[in-house]
Symmetry: C2
Subunit: 329 residues, 2 copies
């Protein structure tokens, strides 16, 4: 047994936690060639392990019909919320020269005409030299597919039947994501069971299971928000907001911001092609990069179901965070 309660004993227990998890679980995503039954899905929920259904949404109208022109036609005359950042890293740890420290940089948000937004996205992707301009991403995560994008909603399944039946709940939010390869979502986690459906372009997921909190070097950070001032995006600290925890370790730059446990993190990598469907279990860390299709955009949707807070999963995940061992060097 570990020495009781001292830092060395705790660190030894954390190392054993991570190596035990690695020994008992593969670092690959299960591949299915058809949707699971509710019972099969529930087994994956019980194990909190991801799977991908190759071409699971290939029969959806969205997969068959959507092109930039089709989308612009359906949304003609409409304005949508667009997240704007200088370099494509929304909600990422960012050094603020004014504040003199690293903050969590939230995007500037603007309403834009949909056709202008999408033309900007595709032009930036396809035209040489335009990658250095500001990056625009429709990514509100507020059930936008059933609100500002409702005119497209009939092209998708209205829910994921195997998830609704297994989890006994409706989707809490259905989100549409439209952007290009300049946008990267940094490592974070959500208290949601997540079904992700790729429509245009590809998404490259890097996944880490919830127990790997000690590896991601979570730090408390001051929120800040980009604002457009005279045509320039500047980062302004949200003085009234409380600091929030954010993972600072990036599996793609594993030497930087590493904790003494980061080398034990076996990241799981999976790429979604158009028509693929991913089950991303609750509380899994994920970093998401994307590649545009030949028309210069990336479009995906996701279905969020509230996670179940009963049983040992949520308290033990929170316990590992509360031990706070990630900051031990």
């Amino acid at each position: 047994m570990a020495a009781y309660g001292d830092a060395d004993g705790t660190r030894a227990a954390v190392r054993e936690l991570l190596t035990t998890y690695n020994d008992l679980n593969g670092a690959t995503v299960e591949e299915l060639d058809h949707e699971p039954s509710p019972l099969e899905f529930m087994r994956s929920v019980a194990r909190n392990t991801p799977f991908v259904v190759r071409q699971g949404a290939a029969s959806w109208k969205s997969h068959q019909k959507w092109t930039p022109d089709y989308l612009k036609d359906k949304l003609a005359g409409q304005r949508v919320n667009v997240a704007i950042t200088p370099h494509g890293n929304a909600d990422a740890p960012t050094f603020s020269p004014c504040h003199g420290s690293t903050v969590i940089a939230k995007p500037h948000e603007e309403e834009q005409a949909f056709d202008e937004f999408l033309d900007y996205v595709t032009t930036q992707e396809l035209k040489q030299g335009s990658q250095s301009a500001e990056v625009r991403y429709a990514q509100t995560q507020n059930d936008n597919f059933r609100n500002e994008y409702i005119s497209l909603f009939a092209d998708a399944q209205s829910d994921i039947p195997f998830a609704r039946i297994a989890l006994q709940k409706e989707a809490e939010a259905i989100n549409l994501w439209i952007g290009n390869s300049c946008s990267v979502t940094c490592l974070h986690r959500d208290p949601m069971e997540n079904i992700y459906v790729q429509v245009l372009g590809r998404k490259h997921f890097i996944l880490l299971p919830p127990l790997f909190h000690p590896c991601v070097n979570e730090k408390m950070m001051q929120p800040a928000t980009y604002t457009r001032t005279g045509g320039v995006l500047t980062l302004e600290v949200d003085e009234d907001e409380e600091r929030v925890p954010l993972a600072t370790w990036d599996p793609d730059k594993a030497e930087r911001e590493a904790t003494e446990f980061s080398h034990l993190a076996k990241a799981v990598r999976v790429t979604l092609d158009p028509g693929d469907m991913l089950y991303l279990p609750a509380m899994w860390y994920h970093k998401v990069k994307q590649s545009s299709n030949e028309e210069g955009c990336v479009v995906a949707m996701n279905f969020w179901y509230d996670m179940d807070y009963s049983g040992p999963f949520y308290p033990s995940t929170t316990f590992i965070r509360n031990l706070g061992v990630s900051n031990q060097k």
Copy 2:
């Protein structure tokens, strides 16, 4: 956040773990009036939460036919393994005067003619003053229902269909338990999904979820075994065996052997009547007492399915044990 890695920070995190679990989970067992479907069962497995199916096995032949005479008739001429202890506490922490310390006391085991064994059990229960004699319990837990008790097996379901379908595995062991109210099984846990079926008499379960390891004051103990020497049971230390962990806190004597966390343990109590079925999830601590029926015996069976070691459940349960906080006073 907690202070990183010191004993006070760890203890604060453990307190929050236990109170979070209590806040999110009731201290009662869900009651069903019919067997769950495989999907319904899988939801309970995912949550690691118990349920009881009242009269779930009432249609089984065992429930309708078994009496002491019927059992003796079916097992006429057969010898069975019997566990014998002076006071009915097999595998319990027991002070050994010779060894000068508390050991884990394993029962003496003997082959006995079944009819003599059962007569002993029922007579001890029903005859005033005989409770002080040695206690006998058929409880081998080695798949005995499909071995020494195979002649009774056709009276039970050969498995639990909802569990086999959900877990995608056959029962690893099916055990028969025959004894009287003198036998008590002390608090312990098994790495098994367990379906418990009551046939004669009643069982009184006290349950604690796996995360409550910090409450049960687990200690490493030397194994010892009762041996019959000249008609007397004496406890002999098993010198060649390694010490094993054993819970020493008893929810029925909550003031003794308590840790600083034991008062946070909300024990779940449930009594099984004949015909009832209990799902006892993997790694739940359980203490089991029993009451005889009017014929002086208690008979039950249980179906053990290997637990799933993948996902976060097993590593995080082991992590909490390895932190070893139960011995912090």
